[in-house]
């Protein structure tokens, strides 16, 4: 590794200045202003370690996996499978075979719907989703429901964008699957996964946890969690685009039919039919994202070297600071959706500057080199529940600090003043 040294230790305070050195994109200026990147909930930036691990792999060890007998191919296969083992260890999986590489979290959820769902859901059945879900955990189920004719029930949300679990037992009663987000990408609200999983288990339902927003920011142990399926994306956790993860309990994967068909997922093919391979290969048709897996493993190494506990502590402290700062500077002119208690949420702030549409807010913020995201954040049912067409979302990661929160507050004040009626 030729780049700057990794920050080490699970210290209480992150050395953000040292971390920022590893993220070249953050060093740039926009019209003389320091770039303030607050859009990691959509996709994070990545450290030099990740890009270098990928280029080193491409330059020294790249070949297609699982096919060649020559040494470079063997090396590529080993590195690829090591990456799978790294992911498995990082999320506390029972074995690497429980980790399926996909294109992204969206494909991972579609895989569960298209494989497990297609064989297990039909007329008379029900599944449970929540109002907090990203479209990635809604539309695949709606598509399947339209085809197979099962019921979709919804866990409602509270006014502050948390799940309302008061009717949980009734909702999960008789359901075959409960699929829910571990952390809202709109309100940052961390859901009561243990409670939902316990209720689902008691009702005999399987659980799918869309962990896209939590795996990058919170320590994760899928075995301890007790879920059946967990999905997330590499690009939100310092890794490359083009790779996502489905983790599922081994017995479930064993029993599931293939999702996509093609090379790499079979044991045998004749003119009469095919024999599918064992998991995880069964679910990885075609050439997988090979260098992306290497990059994701490097991202995990980086996250672990900083420490997931330390990252979480840093984000809670920074979120608390930002909540205070924004309410001091903007008072009643700003609504921040989501739980007011920093420990109950991730570093995702959905902002509503009264009288100014999120799109206009983001435009003014861009003039201040503050990068946030306006829109519905692919969660239209939640936006409808919150009664807003769009929010301006600012999100934090390990490379953000209080200077970023201050810049956000200052730019929001400028936006308010610019549009002042």
């Amino acid at each position: 590794m030729t780049s700057s040294e990794r920050p080490t230790g699970d210290q209480a305070e992150l050395d953000v200045a040292a971390i920022r050195k590893d993220f070249p994109l953050l060093h740039q200026e926009q019209e003389g202003k320091r770039l303030v990147f607050l859009d990691s909930a959509a996709s994070s930036q990545r450290p030099v370690h990740v890009v270098e691990a990928m280029s080193e792999f491409y330059y020294t060890s790249y070949a297609n996996v699982h096919r060649g007998v020559y040494r470079v191919a063997e090396r590529a296969t080993n590195r690829f499978e090591q990456a799978r083992a790294t992911v498995a260890r990082f999320i506390g999986a029972g074995s690497a075979a429980e980790v399926v590489f996909t294109k992204n979290a969206t494909e991972a959820i579609n895989l569960v719907a298209g494989s497990w769902g297609k064989t297990n859901l039909g007329p008379g059945d029900a599944i449970v989703l929540t109002i907090l879900e990203h479209h990635a955990n809604i539309v695949p189920w709606q598509m399947l429901a339209a085809e197979r004719g099962f019921e979709i029930r919804w866990i409602p949300a509270t006014d502050d964008g948390r799940l309302d679990l008061s009717d949980l037992d009734r909702l999960v009663d008789g359901a075959k699957l409960v699929a829910f987000t571990s952390m809202s990408n709109v309100t940052g609200s961390i859901t009561a996964a243990e409670q939902i999983i316990a209720a689902a288990k008691a009702a005999g339902a399987l659980t799918l946890v869309d962990a896209c927003q939590s795996v990058p920011h919170l320590p994760t142990d899928v075995t301890e969690l007790g879920a059946d399926f967990v999905t997330f994306s590499g690009h939100k956790m310092l890794g490359p685009t083009g790779i996502g993860i489905l983790w599922a309990r081994a017995e479930l994967l064993e029993a599931m039919p293939p999702f996509l068909g093609g090379g790499g997922m079979i044991l045998n093919v004749t003119t009469d039919g095919f024999l599918p391979d064992a998991p995880p290969a069964r679910f990885e048709a075609g050439t997988p994202p090979i260098a992306e897996a290497i990059g994701l493993a490097a991202a995990i190494d980086y996250l672990e070297s900083v420490g997931m506990e330390a990252i979480r502590r840093h984000e809670v402290a920074l979120t608390a600071y930002a909540l205070r700062k924004l309410s001091t500077e903007l008072g009643d002119s700003l609504t921040i959706h989501g739980p007011s208690e920093p420990a109950a949420r991730g570093g995702v702030l959905s902002l509503e500057l009264h009288g100014v549409h999120a799109h206009d807010v983001s435009q003014v913020l861009d003039e201040h080199a503050v990068c946030i995201r306006p829109g519905h954040h692919c969660a239209k049912p939640l936006m409808k529940h919150l009664g807003v067409p769009a929010t301006a979302r600012a999100s934090f990661y390990l490379y953000n600090d209080t200077d970023d929160a201050d810049a956000l507050a200052e730019a929001l004040v400028a936006a308010r003043d610019f549009f002042a009626l």
């Binding site: 100014v356 549409h357 206009d360 435009q363 003039e367 829109g375 239209k380 067409p389 400028a414 610019f418």
Partner: protein
Amino acid sequence: MSGLEDLYREIILDHYRNPRNRGELESPPAHRAEGFNPLCGDEIVLHVLLDDDGVIDDIKIGGQGCSISQSSASMMSAAVKGKTIEEARNLTATFKAMMSIHETEIGGDGSEAEADEPVTADLPLGDLEALRGVVKFPVRIKCATLSWNTLSQAFDELAAEATG
């Protein structure tokens, strides 16, 4: 903030704060059309009432959106009221030509690349000229054209109803 002042001209902010022809019409007889900007969640609900000669007798705008989409819708409603469908279509073509020139230069995403459509009109745009600054902010072009696309959609739906 000179760039911003170029985008948010006073007249745009005026239409945003005091939108013209806001509301709904009874449908039928008015025709209702809905447009979405999936990017930012903006929605336009348009009601158009035509008289027997195909003249836009009344038009009302509902929905929510940013200052650019809302002011564009407001200005559009004022501009097309009292015009025939053909005149309104020509005005649409003129407006979209103003929006598209720069879009093709930056190699826009194609979905609105209608610059090579035979532009049948170069009508005076009046207040709408104020939206010219939007072309410098490519992601906002979709906001500016949302109501116009919805109007075209309404006309297409009306034409389909008439023939079908």
